[in-house]
Every structure is written in C-alpha cells, then in structure tokens.
Symmetry: C2
Subunit: 345 residues, 2 copies
DNA sequence: CTGAAAGCGCTAACAA
DNA sequence: TTGTTAGCGCTTTCAG
C-alpha cells in the first residue's frame, strides 16, 4: 500500500519538500514554472496528501463524528442522510457510530472519535444516558458539539429538535376528536428530553379537552423499544387494566411497531378497539395494516441544520456568543389506524 | 482540546520519552519500579495514546471501512450490526460509508478510507458499479478486501453471500405451488451478482415446473429501487401487459415496498389478484397489509462472517492461499401475501 | 535498564 | 523564489 509522498516528488524533481508543498498549495511565492512542473507531476503520479499526517500536524481532521442510538431506524438514517448531504458539500467527512441505547457505548464512541481528532460532534443521546460528564468535559475543552432530537437540558450549545410538545398535542387532540376517551401513552425513559416534552403535550391536550390524566395510562420503556419483551410487557399491562385504553399514542418507531405486533397477535382490531398514532418516521407507514397515523419529523432537515450549526461552530468558534435551539415542526399524517368509531374491547 | 502525551509524562517524571513508551507497553527491559511509576502516573492523568500518531507511524489504524449502498435498509443495517459486534471484540473500529447506489460515491469513499489508512475494506457493491478498477488496484497493492452480498465475479478474494439461486428458486416454487401461472420478477440491474443469481433460480423453478420463461415478465430497476418513479414505471408496465402477471417476485426491500405501494394505489388485491414474495429483510413484514411472504437473509451472520474473514486476512496476510466464498442459507417465511386462490385482475 | 535520535508526511517560521 | 529545520506523538534502532 505504498503511496507517493511530497518527498518522492521533491526527489524526482530535484526540489525541496517545502517547495513542493508550497507549489501544491498554489502559494504566491513559488515560481509559476516550478508550480506547473510540480502540479503536473503530482497529477500524473496521482499524488494525494496524507490526511493522517495533516491531522497529526494540525490536530484536526475535516471530519465530524455522529453518535446516534441506532442506524436501523428510519428517523436516524434520514438524519444521517441530511447530515451527509451538507457535510460533503462543505468538505467534511462524516463518521457514524451507534450507541445502541447504551451509556457505556456512547462514552466509548465519544472517546474514540475525540482521539481520532474529529473537528466536532453531532449527538443524539442514548436512552440510558443520565450522566453527561463526557460531553461537558469536551465542551469545556473547546470541542464543538451540537445535539439533535434527544438533547440534554444541562448543556448549553446549539441544538436542533422538533416541537415535540406541539406534535404530541396534535396527535392527542386528533385522537380525542375522533372520540377516544382513554388514551394511553407508550414512551421512552422519562429522562430523555423527547419523553418529557411529548408527555407534556399529551397531558395538555387531555386537560384542554377536559379528559382526566391518569398516570397509569403512561408506560415507559426503559430501553426505548429496543428490547421487545419490555415493549410487549408494557402493552400487555395496558390491556389488563380494569379500563383498558381505546387508543395508544406511541412515542417512537420501535415502540409503535412493537405495540402493533402485540395487538395483532391478540387479535385486537385497530382502530376499532384500539386506535394508534405513532411518533414515527417509519417508511412503510401507509403499507401497514391498517395504514398508520403518524407524527412525522423532518429528519433530513434536522440533520442538515445540525451540521450547518456545527460547522459554523468549528470554523468560527469565537463568533458564537449565543447558542440557538432550532425547533422544527412535525406533521400529523392521518391514516386509518386512528379514525372511525370506537368499539368496546 | 490539549491531551496529555508521552512527552508530558516523561517531563513530569524526569524520564525520556522512550522509557515512558516502553514502560507503557510493558516492555521487559524496563525496571519494574519505573514501570509502576509510569503506569500509575499515566492512569492518573488519564493518558491515551494518540491513534493518529500511531497510524502515521505504522500505516495502519485498527479500523476497517465498510461501504454499503444504503443504511436506510434493514438488510444493510443488520449487516452493520453483525460487523460491529465482532469487530469491537477484536479491537477494531468500524467506519461506515454509503455509496447511495452511485459508482462515483463508491470510488470517493474508497479513496477516502484508504487515505485514512483503514486496515481493510468490507464492500457491498453499488447497483451502478460496473468498473472494478478501484478495488482491483487496491488488492494488488495488498489491501485486504472482503465482499459481501453484492460481490464481483472478476475479483478473487473472500466473499460472503447467500444462496441466491436457492432462495429464489424456493420463492418461485412456492408461488407456482400456490397456483400462480404468470410470475413476474422485479429486480435490480443485471450486472449485480445478486440479480443474475436470483434470476437463474427463478428461471430454473419455472422450467422445472413446466412454466414458460418470458423475458418480458422480468423488469430491471437500474437504481435498485432507490428511484421511486423508475420502480413505479416498472410495475405499471407489468400491469399493462396483455396478460398481466398473477404474482410478482421482488428482489429487494425497496423494490418490494415500492411494488406494494403501486398495487395498493391501484386497488389491486394482494394476494387475490397479484401475489407477492419479496427477497427482503424488512422488519415489519408481518405488520404489512397483507403480511408479506419473504425470503430472508441472515444479515447479521453475514456481517459477522465477513469481518472474521477480513480480520484474518489483515492479521495473517501470508497464511491465505485460497480464498473462500461462504454461502449462507436464506429462509422463506410464508405469510398471507402469497397464499390463497388467484382471481382474475 | 535508560536515553538519544530518526522517521512516519506535512507545513511554516526562518534563512538564504 | 527556494531551502533548511523543527515539530505534531509515537516507537524503535542504536548507544550507552
């Protein structure tokens, strides 16, 4: 795997490495003829600067690290596509890691990316992260970080989120207006920002429409839906309540499909017996049985905005005095899973 | 972002950098006491070797590059999970890139990974890759590469695939036995290995059961399903044939869901009017309307075996005289989309 | 047992 | 306009 280096070019052309280096960077202080000579030779030999050497020298890498819970999730893969589309245009490479909803892996990935000298970090917290020291420490040491979707309250930096409260309110309102009375909420761990915000929107809608809020209709899945058994148990508990719900509002992709699976297995009719609205970007929502009503997040755009903010932070670190939190709008797409008259279970 | 280096430790302890380096690597030629001193200090200061410096020195990185068409696809994300699970245990990091089914991006990603000194490459070809020079060149220069799923015939190296012929044969046979007579095949570009193999299995089944093979029942999607319009047009063409198919065997995730979308829009009943079997790992197959019969690939295991082969190649380059192609089995999971009597369109 | 020095590829301050 | 040198962090001869 030998590759040609500046030294090789210098030797071949009888020049010094610095002259070659300067010529390649098109420095004004180099004789046009020399420049041409060098450029052409480099081109011919297919010279490529060694980014490792550059990183070592400059302690930067023109790359940004992304840590998300899971790739196998349409919301996150769209997020990545948004991130990549912008990053590549601005000359940055994107290195993707999955935390698999594990705090330990999030920390390990973070450390690795930092040691690899990424210029900045884009993070969506794992559902099990409660300690933020690994990020706080980095921020204090000057590493630019932007959070998206699952963001920490305790850290001051740019953030890109959706209006979870509004999205959740709208979903709940829709269920209420469709005549549902006992609306349950299946969600992620309470210490995630998205969980509390969605919960708040849900509560507010209930209150505004005069429905009682009953804590026992809210089930938290510690692993954010990753662990199927936990998921199933939560739905099962709902079904076994003295007054089972006539609608379930689910807070993520996994939670939604997991919930539908259980209902299907139990032959519970959706939406007649239980209506479903999912906070999800699942790609085949309209192919499901029944087609799924969904609160959709502009994932691509979230990714794009987040990189933009991050790269601005990287390239103009001093210029940032105030951090912004951008909040994008969700859209409620109504399909069959939530409409029509309720039937007793 | 200053981090502590060997030099700092040396200075603090009044030693030379080489002594510190050796102590940290637990070299036999270092006085146990010095060793202990250094180790403890390093531990206390949270010293981490700079991997960039190591890469520059050794031209290796303890990391492997993965280039796949698309993350937003269950088959590939499972593949990645398989790859990661093994790689981490063996101390390698995994760097993931998407070609987005574009030859140019595949080449660009390859070059980048190589310049970043990955120790090896795991590749699943883009649907538009016909020229293999970028890989051939690297292999000749000694870079270990293992292909998986979409593999090139023209390159000799380890490969991990599924038995596409058998999977396809089984799917087609199933449709025939369910009474279907005009079975169409919606597939990827013909120059992908998976396409020709699946096509061959399909043909063989038709032949074995005495059904005619009609080339016009086979539609190739140049972009492997990525471009929805192309996808739709292909299905549309099928429907407009003088004798439209009574079953469609689709060759990938995207092709399958795209096809189902079109049929749904046109109010064509599945499976009554057209039965569907998909060569797909889509996670919600059983939640679809109707639940989807699928040829499922052991994606996780494919990923695991591929990294194992790759890492073996990396760590014992000389020991490999023969390359192996591992072929794993698919499984046909029968659901409603392909059973029951056929009705005229 | 420990240290000095070179080198991985590149750039920039300093000299010429 | 070009060359020399040092240094980014680390390991490894080669010399003590």
């Amino acid at each position: 795997m030998e590759t040609i280096t500046i030294k090789d070019i210098a030797k071949a052309l009888g020049l010094s490495t610095s002259t070659v280096s300067r010529a390649l960077r098109n420095s004004y202080e180099i004789n046009p003829e020399t420049k041409k000579l060098v450029m052409e030779y480099a081109e011919r030999m297919n010279y490529r600067p060694n980014p490792i050497a550059l990183s070592l020298r400059d302690s930067k890498s023109k790359s940004i690290g992304v840590i998300i819970p899971e790739i196998a999730n349409h919301f996150f893969s769209q997020l990545i596509n948004g991130i990549e589309s912008i990053a590549y245009n601005l000359g940055y490479h994107v290195v993707i890691f999955q935390s698999h909803e594990s705090y330990e892996r999030e920390v390990a990935n973070t450390n690795y990316l930092v040691s690899r000298k990424v210029d900045g970090l884009l993070i969506s917290l794992s559902s099990l992260t409660t300690n933020l020291f690994h990020f706080q420490d980095l921020m204090e040491r000057g590493l630019p970080i932007v959070f998206l979707d699952r963001v920490p309250n305790a850290i001051e930096t740019h953030k890109v989120v959706v209006d979870n409260f509004a999205g959740s309110y709208e979903a709940t309102e829709h269920l209420i207006k469709s005549g549902r009375k006992r609306i349950a909420h299946l969600t992620s761990p309470i210490y995630l920002s998205i969980t509390t915000e969605r919960l708040a929107g849900y509560k507010q809608a209930l209150e505004d429409y005069g429905l009682p809020f009953d804590e026992s209709y809210v089930k938290y899945c510690y692993h954010g839906g990753k662990v199927a058994t936990e998921n199933e148990a939560a739905v099962q508990e709902m079904l076994e309540m003295p007054e089972p719900p006539d609608a379930i509002f689910t807070a993520s992709d996994r939670l939604t499909t997991g919930c539908m699976s259980v209902l299907q297995k139990k032959n519970i009719k959706i939406p007649q017996q239980i209506a479903i609205v999912g906070f999800t970007n699942i790609s085949v929502a309209e192919l499901l049985n029944p087609p799924l009503t969904a609160v959709v997040q502009p994932a691509m755009e979230m990714g794009q905005q987040a990189v933009e903010l991050l790269i601005r932070l990287i390239e103009h670190p001093q210029k940032t005095d105030v951090f912004e939190t951008r909040s994008l709008k969700t859209s409620l797409i109504i399909r069959e899973s939530s409409v029509g008259k309720a039937e007793a279970l």
